[in-house]
Amino acid sequence: MPLPRIAISIGDPAGIGPEIALKAALSEEVRSLCIPVLVGDRGALELHAAACKLTPEIINVAPERVRELALPAGAVALIARAQLQPGELQLGKLSAVHGRAILDSATVAINAALASQVDAVVAAPQTEKSVQMAGVHFDGYPTFVASVVGVPRDNALLMLCFDDKRIVHVTLHTSVRKAIEQITIPRVEAVILAAVVALQRLGVAAPRIAVSGLNPHASEDGLFGDEEAQIIAPAIARAKAAGIDVEGPFGADTFLAKSGFDAHVVMLHDQGHVAAKALAPNRAAGMTIGTPVLFSSVAHGSALDIAGQNKAKPDAVIEAIKRLARIGTVLH
């Protein structure tokens, strides 16, 4: 069985992205799990390699050739993009050029996954300010992935991953008032289904899903609010009828501590994010599910202050790759 191919977009060329992408691609652990393929500007990658005193052979590969690629020891593969003119890269700085490079690398990697040239994408850290300077409204990777893939933006869902927890959000970057309106039976059912599909692709054959309520204590049988009875429970019943192993609605304040589930579905941004960031500071990575492309960002930012100093550790990239690496066991 061939190893899965995982594209690693190198993120903000002015940050630590290229450095940690390269270090991850050279890690024995990563290479035992997948064939990593970097995506980004060759000059930027070479500059970071030199700064880290790394001298790997960098093999340019066209996306349509990735499947037949055999990676010699000590070499890394790169889908090379011409993003930066000589002198345009300013380490540690914000700029529109960097912003465009970030989105170009991610777009190329996503398209490679959409064309089944790679099996999944890991994105090294971006710098949102630079993306904004490039004139692009960036609202997190899920909507970006949806726009590149060409599916409705609401199809793309954020699954926060840390330790053995995976938290899927029914609503995300919207006000509490609007979020409540967006919670419908078809929406909740679709999110449960998307979680199951994603987990199966990640190698969990029969995923178990827990679903939160919207109201305090999941409304305690209607004492405060009726969305559990009117929306969430019926959606769970429909998913069960479709053969899915799903339970809930549970009060959101206690259900994250419940073990034995492969994913926890929450209704609101803060129901998932607060616990994730508090319990796993700088360890919660965002995976985009619900589209044909499995896409993961890493748990921390682009650390402009230490760019090009050989100080950054690739652990978060390696962690993201390990989460995605079992994808091959189901796909092939």
Partner: protein, 356 residues
Amino acid sequence: MRKSVQPRALPLIALTTGEPAGIGPDLALMLAARPAARRGARLVLVGDAQMLARRATRLGLKVTLRSCAGLAACAAPGPGVAVLHVPLAHPAHPGHLDARNAAYVLGTLDAALAGCVSGVFAAMVTAPVHKGVINEAGIAFTGHTEYLAEKTHTLRVVMMLAGGRPPLRVALATTHLALKDVPRALTREDLRTTLTILEADLRGKFGIARPRIVVAGLNPHAGESGHMGREEIEVITPVLEELRKRGMRLTGPLPADTLFTPRVLAGADAVLAMYHDQGLPVLKYATFGEGINITLGLPIIRTSVDHGTALDLAATPAKAKTADPGSLITAFRLAVDLATRAAPAKRKAPARRSKS
């Protein structure tokens, strides 16, 4: 002879034993059976004395109980742990709710409250009740906090949960109401009141001279300058600005997921979350069953467990899978601390004649 037994009378702390079909009586008895856990105060259980005695036998707990008919008897010295007797309407069966005992459950709260108001009890600690069965009995009940507020004619109380080390304290701007009603309930006036109560009780009850409070936004990313909701701009920020001018040390509104990180929490005495599920999941996860609940703004001191009645665990013999008294013990310890701090004014607990 009364005067010599306890020269400097320890504060009396009432513990309502909660839903009789649940683990409340079990946890109360576990506390009663651990003298070290109840040091520094005199524990008074509030509930049906016979039921508690039988439950102790069933659990194999060695504890001497002394049934007391009224507050005066509770305050008088005597052997064992005092039980302020409130009779059950019908025999309680562990694991099986009975709506006919709903009035009994509320009766234990009334009895403890009367003792607090009259100054016999320095504080009350509450074991879990089952809201559903009380409502089933035809009594509208949304929780201890709301019930005690109404009974003490307190217009506004604030629910705060605490736990962990260093202590994380999370107060709630809104508590047990449907999420769709939260944005409407969050008015400037109400938020101002909440923060005023929180600040005053951190100073008065907890003895923090100039408390630092971190306030969350309502919406994701605290609304991100109005892109994801306007409550931060229209309600929260103006109130914070106004109260800062009065000298309060307030930070926010911050995105909730930024707020609950060690760096921000390190500089805070308490957090104000805008709704229940914004503040409590992380607290409950982080405190591993030792979290507690305290009602601020009441004229009395009241602390509580942060969990439910766990009907399935009730009356399980001691060596089997038993309920964990961690939260109840922590709640009791906090009540002792707060009562002791408040003690100078109340050290002479008057064993006044009470009508109940």
